[in-house]
């Protein structure tokens, strides 16, 4: 079988905090194929955000290796590592903290488009803003992050990630701050990017989002991936006790609503 786009093998990470060792990831294997969407679900403290940071190369694991196209991140030359970092783009939960408050929307996007010829950057920025529905795009360019609503900032985060033409987007709870009515818009936006062949590793605690968006689901509990498989199979017929508990804990809306 050919090598997947992203492969995490035997990852372990322990933090030393307040005189105590806290193990965040015990021994985790995970892979994302090209163009595939994988949801990593679990409670806070399960180690899913740590795993995401390790996948992005933002954090070095104590044990284990991260491979992008079969090449180990830790063994890359700085130039190749920089390429890898471009190929994997993050979207974080709090869009308010993802932007430099002193840079306008146009400047933030121009920076993400640093590879593109200077004279095309403005035009490409306008394209991106239109694509994520931040309109009118021309006036948006001059705005500053504090002038945008939470939903608009999250759209801008998507635009910035897309600007790098990545092959993988690692999104850490990108929807949890968003209102329900906006959540659908965000999901549609991310689905658009999937049509371009961008793969996703989506960290979420929301089972319904995982069910709707992911091809495959991996369930994380206490630093271990306890179950993984096709989204429908894992969520309809959970094999692990913890997965079942997680699914049962979600308050049911459909009990009142006929399909």
């Amino acid at each position: 079988m050919s090598e997947p786009l992203l492969r995490l093998a035997g990852i372990a990470k322990t933090f030393y905090r307040g005189g105590e060792h806290v193990t965040a990831v015990v021994d985790a294997d995970l892979h994302v194929e090209a163009g595939e969407s994988v949801a990593l679900v679990g409670e806070s403290g399960s180690g899913k955000s740590t795993l995401a940071r390790i996948a992005l190369g933002l954090m070095v694991p104590d044990k284990g290796k991260v491979f992008l196209d079969g090449r180990c991140l830790a063994e890359m030359t700085p130039a190749v590592f920089a390429e890898a970092r471009t190929a994997m783009q993050p979207i974080f939960q709090d869009p308010g903290q993802s932007f430099n408050p002193r840079r306008s929307v146009g400047e933030a996007l121009a920076q993400a488009l640093w590879r593109a010829p200077r004279e095309t950057r403005r035009e490409r920025s306008i394209d991106l803003l239109n694509r994520v529905g931040l309109r009118p795009a021309e006036t948006m360019l001059a705005r500053y992050p504090h002038e945008l609503s939470g939903g608009q900032k999250q759209r801008l985060a998507v635009a910035r990630a897309a600007a790098m033409a990545p092959r993988l987007i690692v999104a850490d709870e990108p929807l949890s701050g968003a209102d329900v009515s906006i959540r659908g818009q965000m999901l549609n936006l991310l689905s658009e990017l999937r049509k371009d062949g961008i793969a996703f590793l989506m960290i979420t605690h929301d089972i319904s989002v995982a069910r709707a968006f992911a091809d495959r689901v991996a369930v994380m509990h206490r630093g271990l991936i306890v179950e993984s498989g096709p989204a429908a199979a894992v969520l309809e017929r959970p094999g692990h006790d913890y997965t079942r508990r997680l699914i049962d804990a979600v308050p049911r809306l459909d009990r009142y609503v006929s399909a």
């Binding site: 609503s149 959540r183 605690h205 979600v250 308050p251 049911r252 459909d254 009142y256």
Partner: protein, 323 residues
């Protein structure tokens, strides 16, 4: 008799750039022992309403500009700060979203619960009552000697509930009590709330943006949009047959459904500001009519008993009447 009646309440904040309307003619009733869910997205005014109910509006900034709030038969709309002190905790207590910022970080949990017990019940064995309250929220009695930072989020929320219950409230106002918690912890807290209501006969006003949480915990539901209460009724009836287009859209979006084109169901646009003319949902409404932009629709009776929605096109029929 109803415990709490909010009648056409309007509320505004005075800031350096003038007045911002937060709530417009919102109405709401909570009967004894009843659980009512107040649902709305950010900016809908639900937290402002909760604060107004407990006299916690920022002084000199938050202003009630119309309507009334009645608690247990007493008009408290323009109550003086001093008089509010006597009402807080009993008959109405409150828990907030973030238990860590509601607890005193340098005081042991037992002391904080004791404080609330003493507030309304002078004399009596405080230590015994504290232990009783910890048992009620299913915390081990050793927690009395712990500081807030030593507890998990779920335990802190339980401690906060114990403090609220220390006042023997007839009604608990809970503002997003489970939003900061994991789904499994959330399920435990919701089960606890249900049990406490059954045991103590306490009424509950649960404020949440999560329709699932409200479906789980509440008998009746009130939906707010841009400062107005736009639909209310029994939870089962309202969620099965929503009358307001916003309520339908919210329910569809809440279940993460796809439409015929394979797109996720969504509500286009963003929540507008309160205080405009006409129906606040008109700019986003898929079924908007000319009248919606100029006249705010009154409440029309919808399907079930006590189920009503403010929409000129309720159940597909064009309604008439004075705005």
């Amino acid at each position: 008799m109803s415990l709490l009646t909010v009648d056409r309440l309007s509320l505004a904040y005075d800031g350096p750039r003038g007045r911002t309307v937060a709530i417009e003619e919102a109405s709401l009733v909570v009967g004894e022992g009843e659980a009512v869910g107040l649902v709305g997205e950010s900016g809908s005014g639900k937290s402002s309403l909760a604060r107004a109910l407990l006299g916690l509006l920022p002084r000199g900034i938050g202003r009630i500009t119309g309507g009334t709030i009645t608690i247990a038969g007493r008009d408290v709309t323009h109550l003086a700060r001093r008089d509010w002190e006597k009402l807080r905790g009993r008959p109405m207590a409150m828990v907030f979203q973030d238990p860590l910022s509601s607890l005193n970080p340098v005081m042991k949990i037992g002391t904080q619960i004791g404080e609330s017990v003493r507030r309304h019940d002078r004399g009596g064995d405080v230590a015994k009552r504290v232990e009783e309250l910890l048992g009620l929220v299913k915390l081990p009695s050793a927690v009395a000697g712990s500081y807030p930072h030593e507890l998990s989020g779920g335990m802190r929320q339980r401690a906060l509930l114990a403090i609220a219950l220390g006042c023997r409230p007839a009604m608990l106002v809970a503002d997003e009590p489970t939003t900061a918690l994991d789904v499994t912890t959330q399920a435990e807290i919701l089960a606890l709330l249900r049990e406490l209501r059954a045991k103590l006969g306490m009424a509950l006003l649960l404020i949440s943006h999560d329709l699932g949480v409200v479906a789980d915990a509440c008998d009746r539901v009130v939906i707010m949009y841009a400062g107005r209460t736009v639909e209310w009724g029994a939870t089962s009836d309202t969620f099965a047959r929503p009358g307001h287009p916003y309520a339908s859209a919210l329910l569809a979006a809440g279940r993460v459904m796809r439409n015929e084109q394979g797109l996720f169901v969504t509500v286009e646009g963003e929540v507008g500001a309160a205080g405009g003319t006409g129906c606040p949902f008109a700019p986003r409404c898929p079924k908007v009519m000319p009248r919606c932009r100029t006249d705010m629709p009154p409440a029309f009776a919808a399907g079930g008993p006590d189920h009503a929605a403010c929409c000129w096109l309720l159940d597909g029929q064009v309604r008439s009447g004075a705005p």
